[in-house]
């Protein structure tokens, strides 16, 4: 017999360290349970509710009609003859197809993305940011925001030992960041968000983290997710200014993950784009601070995760570094063209004088209103449960409540070789068929426990889920007291 070539021992050591909690052990168990249910195994529930991943359509949210009409026209242009499609949809489809090689969405595009889409994205950004100019050359379309985020991290990580690039990321964070940093062998510099102050960001904490980090690495990048994932906090304008000032002082490259920019619910909260604030701080900042901001078609009101559409805008990047970025993205050929087309529609939606406008606005408003209501409901119900503390869900799509776990439960978890909040979530899954992600997957202060739940199930179902989790928590607490 010939020897096995590729084994656990000789595979890439960096890859061995990569974990991605959103799809980890608990999701695998959820999948198994679903299988068992299909095979007729009796359980205390009839379906598994997957409130672990931010996938709106999977939870029943309907696509926006206009977007799908245009995409169908792009896929099968013969439908342009069909008078059931509105003129504005046809117009956009024709424009997109014109920009595609051979007028087909099946042709490769330029690796930076279809030019007219980048132009439209730039115009959208200008409009959103009160006229601050955006250059299409600084726009890179990507396969979801994840692709662009990983690309930037890849670009910026260098050095050995004490000079190794350090990347600042919040605790809690969306685990794509920690996974990418592990894969790249970069140093993760954690800064804690303040749970007692609604998960807000404190520059003093940033300073503490970066100073400590300078002992053992070279901090060069600061990542911030706004609105936050998993916490949902929407940063105030003042906070954003403080962060920008901090980045300038510490010579950090800012990565602003803004994929939830349309998902803002709480009164008094508003989305401020990092770029807009940067430019409003004057040329001392706007011409020096290096930044990349990220957006995607997976969230907001569209929820089109399956298309993998996204972009990043890079600001003040050294031209030689930018040339390397352009080279790097060309290795992966191009982002999926349907995703690029979809992005074009998102940044170029129906206007008030167009036939699809009313329906479009109605659908969009309904989605965002439902999310806002669910955010409010979630906070209310969880805060009624003793032992569960839930910060307001100001934005994004998740709640990240803190759960008090009895010492006996913590001990039992240890016995079973599980992290306590994983133990909790696994029990919840087995007893109620609800799949959440334990807080340990996102990071949390030592000694605290959380879970992340999406607020995406339809309102009636969400009410049931909230009730079941509440009841479970009380039961669990009693069992281990």
């Amino acid at each position: 017999m010939f020897q096995i070539v590729l084994t656990l021992d000789n595979m890439n050591p960096n890859v061995r360290r990569v974990e991605y909690a959103v799809r980890g052990a608990i999701v695998q168990r959820a999948g198994q349970i679903e299988k068992e249910l299909k095979e007729g195994v009796k359980k205390p529930f009839t379906e598994v509710i997957k409130a672990n991943i931010g996938d709106a359509h999977a939870m029943g949210q309907k696509p926006i009609s206009f977007l799908r009409q245009v995409l169908a026209l792009c896929s099968y242009p013969e439908l342009l003859e069909d008078n059931k499609f509105p003129e504005d949809a046809k117009h956009r489809a024709r424009r997109i197809l014109e920009a595609c090689g051979g007028h087909s969405i099946g042709a490769y595009s330029a690796s930076q993305g279809i030019e007219c889409v980048r132009q439209d994205v730039a115009r959208y950004i200008e409009k959103r940011d009160g006229g601050i100019p955006s250059n299409p050359d600084n726009i890179y379309l990507s396969t979801g925001a994840s692709d662009a985020i990983v690309t930037m991290l890849k670009l910026l990580v260098c050095g050995e030992g004490r000079d190794r690039t350090g990347v600042m990321i919040s605790i809690p964070q969306y685990p794509l960041y920690s996974a990418a940093l592990a894969d790249l062998g970069a140093v993760q510099i954690s800064y804690y968000l303040d749970e007692d102050k609604c998960w807000s960001l404190d520059v003093a904490e940033l300073k503490r983290a970066v100073d400590a980090a300078r002992q053992h690495c070279n901090p060069r990048v600061l990542c911030i997710i706004n609105p936050g994932n998993p916490t949902g906090q929407v940063q105030s304008r003042q906070c954003i200014e403080d962060v920008i000032r901090f980045a300038k002082e510490e010579h950090l490259f800012l990565m602003a993950d803004e994929v939830y920019q349309d998902n803002v619910y709480a009164e008094g909260c508003k989305f401020h784009s990092f770029k807009k604030v940067l430019f409003e701080m004057g040329p001392a900042y706007s011409s020096t601070v290096e930044m990349a901001s990220f957006h995607s078609t997976s969230k907001c009101y569209m929820g089109e995760c399956g298309f993998r559409g996204g972009y990043m805008e890079v600001i003040n990047m050294d031209p030689e570094v930018k040339a390397q970025l352009t080279k790097l993205v060309s290795v992966r050929l191009c982002p999926p063209v349907p995703g690029q087309a979809l992005l074009d529609l998102v940044v170029n939606p129906p206007q008030p004088d167009e036939p699809s406008y009313n329906t479009f606005m109605k659908e969009r408003t309904a989605v965002l209103a439902a999310l806002a209501e669910k955010a409010r409901l979630t906070e209310q119900i969880f805060n009624e449960v003793p032992g569960v503390t839930c910060n307001p869900v100001q934005g994004a799509m998740y709640t990240f409540p803190r759960i008090a776990l009895p010492q006996k439960a913590i001990d039992k978890a240890k016995e079973e070789g599980q992290v306590p909040d994983m133990f909790y979530c696994m029990r919840l899954l087995e007893e109620e068929g609800i799949c959440l992600v334990p807080g340990s997957g996102f990071g949390q202060r030592e000694g605290t426990f959380h879970f992340r739940m999406t607020i995406l199930p339809p309102t009636e179902k969400l009410k049931i889920v909230l009730q079941k989790i509440s009841d479970f928590h009380v039961r669990f607490t009693q069992e281990f007291s």
Partner: protein, 505 residues
């Protein structure tokens, strides 16, 4: 400001593909035309890379109809769409979370599609078993290849992982290997034998790795990209035995398996050959094969979906494949659905079957006829010759260049074939790929020409190419003492051949 010094050295080390320079030039010229510049041609024709739709080949109707209905399910009520289209869309939407193509899927791909792929492989390989859990779907086969190579990659300097790579290879491959952090170890394919793989050459290449890197994999494409060579069973067995003996993971790119047109040639998969060998091979040799919807018949490059099948891989390692794919979250759903349609097309009796079959046959006929036409055309062109291709979508002609071009290229510090392609672009608006693997001993340069283009387009390309090439040869002919204008073309060719090659470092 972050400077070049602070860019990841791995990224800095990614070689620039000469193709991207030519691509920029082509885009630039196109823009000039749009802005009203006067050129001797109306538009740039791009036949440099495998993008059939861009070149004007139409998508498969069934695929696009099903996707349209999946995107906009209201179309289910549209009776002008064939019944099998609507039924298939319905079935596919049933296996999408929330009944929408806008949901994420499992990171390694939709179970339904993976199952379709496994069944396709079994049918293709005369019953050799294939399992959905060994199939991993990704955004294009390139992504799958990157994941596997990254999994393999370790070490630095002398201990850096090496991957044996054919020469010529797809122009996208070297930058991919650079990004993954592995050493490219070239093995020369044998041009005079139709670009066949040579065992002695494999051994020679392996020897060169001693003290330079740790070879751990061998990459090969079959049908060959860009050579068009189709391996027979004996050749495949040879490569498998070599990989087994030398402990190399087999990475086999079979994306053009659907385009074998050579007479008496047939595609046979590496997996099938492996399973029909002795148990000591079939149960242990580690093999990963790749396929995608960027294939000849589908041409759906822009939808970005492909898959790999892992054979005899350690499950503890395979779980990391899944972890790595997790960071992509999932492959674009429209691409995954197109994969399903590719491996599970209309059957005899289905309403769409006839149209579907016609479209596939047309593609294959186009390839075959175009290949023949180009071969005949090249025979008449001084300094050009081409090995017959049997499959794939390219021809890879060999080019002897006039000495003046070679000298000019040296001065400009570009490869002579790149200069040729640049001049062809500027003077005639035809974009061919440059081989960029100059062979000092033979004086050969190469060009890469995609033949999956509508016949009219090909004719236009050949007319312009012919015109350019003859002008080039005529104009650049070194003149001894005059009277050159009536010099016979044939004599010129002999002159270049006997003049031999020019020493190029």
């Amino acid at each position: 400001m972050s400077s070049l010094q602070l860019v990841n050295p791995r990224v800095r080390g990614i070689r620039r593909s000469p193709h991207s320079g030519l691509q920029s030039l082509a885009a630039h010229i196109t823009q000039e035309i749009t802005q009203g510049a006067q050129k001797p041609f109306k538009e740039v024709i791009d036949v440099s890379s495998g993008d059939p739709h861009k070149a004007g080949v139409k998508p498969i109707s069934f695929v696009r109809q099903v996707l349209a209905v999946c995107l906009h399910p209201q179309l289910m009520k549209n009776k002008t769409l064939p019944l099998d289209v609507r039924l298939r869309a319905q079935r596919l939407l049933e296996v999408c979370d929330g009944g929408s193509v806008g949901s994420y899927t499992a990171s390694s791909g939709m179970p339904h599609v993976k199952q379709s792929i496994a069944e396709f492989i079994m049918r293709r390989d005369a019953g050799v078993p294939s399992h959905a859990e060994d199939i991993f779907i990704s955004a294009g086969s390139q992504r799958a290849l990157m994941v596997v190579v990254k999994l393999l990659a370790s070490g630095e300097g002398e201990t850096q992982t090496g991957v044996l790579t054919p020469r010529p290879c797809p122009h996208t491959l070297p930058p991919l290997l650079d990004e993954a952090g592995v050493t490219l170890v070239p093995y020369q394919l044998m041009e005079d034998r139709g670009w066949a793989v040579d065992l002695d050459e494999l051994h020679r290449a392996l020897k060169t790795t001693r003290g330079r890197c740790e070879p751990r994999a061998i990459y090969i494409s079959n049908p060959g990209n860009p050579t068009g060579h189709v391996q027979d069973r004996k050749s495949i067995e040879e490569v498998i035995r070599f990989a087994a003996a030398e402990r190399l993971l087999l990475l086999v790119d079979e994306v053009y398996q659907d385009s074998v047109y050579g007479q008496e040639k047939e595609f046979i998969s590496y997996k099938r050959v492996l399973f029909e060998m002795d148990k000591e091979y079939s149960e242990t040799v580690q093999l990963v094969s790749f396929h995608s919807i960027s294939s000849a018949c589908m041409g759906e490059c822009g939808l970005r979906a492909g898959y790999m099948e892992q054979v005899n891989m350690d499950p503890e390692v395979t779980q990391f494949v899944d972890t790595m794919l997790c960071t992509d979250i999932s492959t674009p759903v429209t691409g995954q659905l197109a994969l399903d349609l590719m491996v599970n097309p209309p059957k005899p009796g289905d309403p769409s079957y006839d149209t579907y079959t016609q479209e596939i046959l047309l593609t294959l006929a186009t390839l075959s006829q175009n290949a023949q036409r180009v071969q005949e055309f090249l025979k008449d062109l001084p300094g050009m010759s081409c090995q017959p291709a049997m499959g794939g979508i390219y021809l890879y002609p060999c080019l002897h260049l006039p000495s003046e071009i070679i000298e000019k290229a040296k001065k400009l510090e570009v490869e002579a074939d790149v200069l040729y392609c640049q001049m062809l672009l500027e003077e005639e608006g035809v974009f061919l790929g440059a081989g960029c693997q100059y062979d000092g001993t033979t004086g050969n340069h190469h060009l890469r020409l995609s033949i999956l283009v509508p016949p009219d387009t090909l004719q236009e390309v050949l007319d312009r190419l012919g015109s350019f090439h003859r002008r080039l040869v005529r104009d650049k002919l070194p003149r001894p003492d005059g009277g050159v204008k009536d010099r016979d073309m044939g004599e010129n060719v002999r002159l270049f051949s006997t003049a031999g090659t020019f020493p190029m470092n």
